[in-house]
């Protein structure tokens, strides 16, 4: 992977100037490369990783992993059904996977009832959905490579040879 992408994946706010210095490139070249990545859809968007457990006043959210068994359709396989499912705003992630079921969804809702209602009223009745299994998330330890913990203290002594 291009090092520009590696840097941005770690910190999306790194400036073009800083990236240029790090990689000994021209700022304009970095800018052009990033523009190209955005245009090609390699870079989809920039966002902050937020530890929602630390936000007390935030509307509480529950998340569930939902396994979905579906009947594939002629010519389009799973894609058509998957699309009908992932377009629901409640679905934050949707993966087609190998194994005993077909789709794995991550669904978010205000509370248990909201998620249950989505499953019962929107997801399960879909024509090609054969069955669902819902797992509610209890605690997040690590997400997208980030350990959800307060910053660790520096354990090195402050000065050494």
């Amino acid at each position: 992977m291009d090092e520009i992408l590696e840097i941005l994946e770690k910190d999306g706010r790194t400036s073009f100037e800083d990236i240029a210095r790090m990689l000994k490139k021209k700022t304009a070249a970095v800018k052009a490369a990033v523009a190209r990545y955005q245009k090609e859809g390699v870079i989809l968007k920039y966002k902050a990783v937020i530890n929602k457990e630390l936000i007390r006043d935030a509307v509480s959210q529950v998340r569930a992993l939902i396994e979905v068994n579906i009947t594939p359709q002629k010519d389009v396989g799973f894609d058509r059904v998957a699309e009908r499912i992932y377009l629901f705003p409640e679905v934050s992630s949707c993966y087609l996977i190998s194994g005993t079921y077909d789709l794995l969804l991550i669904v978010e809702g205000r509370d248990l009832q909201a998620v249950s209602r989505f499953v019962a009223e929107k997801l399960a009745p879909l024509e090609n959905v054969k069955g669902t299994t819902t797992h509610f998330l209890l605690k997040k330890y690590k997400e997208d490579g980030v350990v959800l913990k307060h910053k660790e203290e520096n354990k090195r002594i402050a000065i050494s040879y």
């Binding site: 590696e6 790090m22 000994k24 000065i159 050494s160």
Partner: protein, 385 residues
Amino acid sequence: MSVTRKVKKLQPSGIREFFDLVLGMKDVISLGVGEPDFVTPWQIREAGIYSLEEGFTSYTSNKGLYKLRLGIARYLKNRWGLEYSPEEEILITVGASEGMDLALRTLVNPKDKILIPVPSYVSYGPLTELVGGEPVYIDTTPYDFKLTPELLEKYAAKKPKALILNYPSNPTGVSYTARELGEINRILLKYRILCITDEIYGELTYDFEHTPFATLKGAKDNTVYLDGFSKSYAMTGWRVGFAAGPRDIISAMNKIHQYTIMCVSITSQMAACEALESGRRSVEEMKREYRRRRGFVIAELNRMGLECHMPQGAFYAFPSIRSSGMSSIDFCQKLLKDQKVAVVPGTAFTPMAEGYVRISYASSTNSLKEALNRIGVFLEKRRPV
């Protein structure tokens, strides 16, 4: 109780006071640290923990676990094409530091001259003095901190016993290409000078491939090669290093090692085995990160008028601070007091490095950025009107 004359004569580090000042201060951004900011990769830590759970709490053979020596022999072969016998030519040491001590104790007779290019890591001179040898410091500051063939040739005439060569260098980050090392090797062989190489930062070489000295033509029988896990695998606190060299020298080093150290902690040795097995990816990742920080730091330093060569390895920048009009120690103390940023005065590494400071970029990009900003503010405030 009286302390021996030899120990009394040892120079205490001149900047102890400055170090104490840093250690006593809170909320300092320190670019004065001589070790990685990464913690040891998890799979390596896990291997150490598992070895404890399994009850590996005993001594190992003096030379170190055979499995580790074999792993090192394979690494040296696969990575550099170097052939060392794990039975007789490799010794596991408490960091490269112990390896250096053992090598000097094994090779230096009283009054023997040992060449030490400076600025250098702080232990070489004192360890030489402890065994009664005579350190001969070669000032490389006028040559971009490099030991040039001309310079070495000049000092070779003094009939030294050995040269201590550390590359990539702490504190300057300077390293040597294969061609440059070839020149050095040619002179060493010509004058029959042994080479003790400290290649602890070898894996952190950025602009070209590191060349272990022992790979040079005719060098292997003339070289004690010291390396370890501290810098490349972020394992400083585990204290595992190794020495590789001719069997008679390794066997002599092991004689001292068996009486003084016995063996390296088995937990650390087990963890080091895992590092060799699965740590390659982490090494490459950390190296890429250091290289990026290097580009950033050097560009920033030069921009603010602290002239700095591009270091080829390790994780140190060694800029000149002459444009500030301050001495090294003055610069460091004032920077610490004014801006709470710690860097190490060049004079910590030799009096000849007056006018330089060592900046470690083994810190997160955010800390580096903040620290460099503060250095910028510091310089701006003190700019003569």
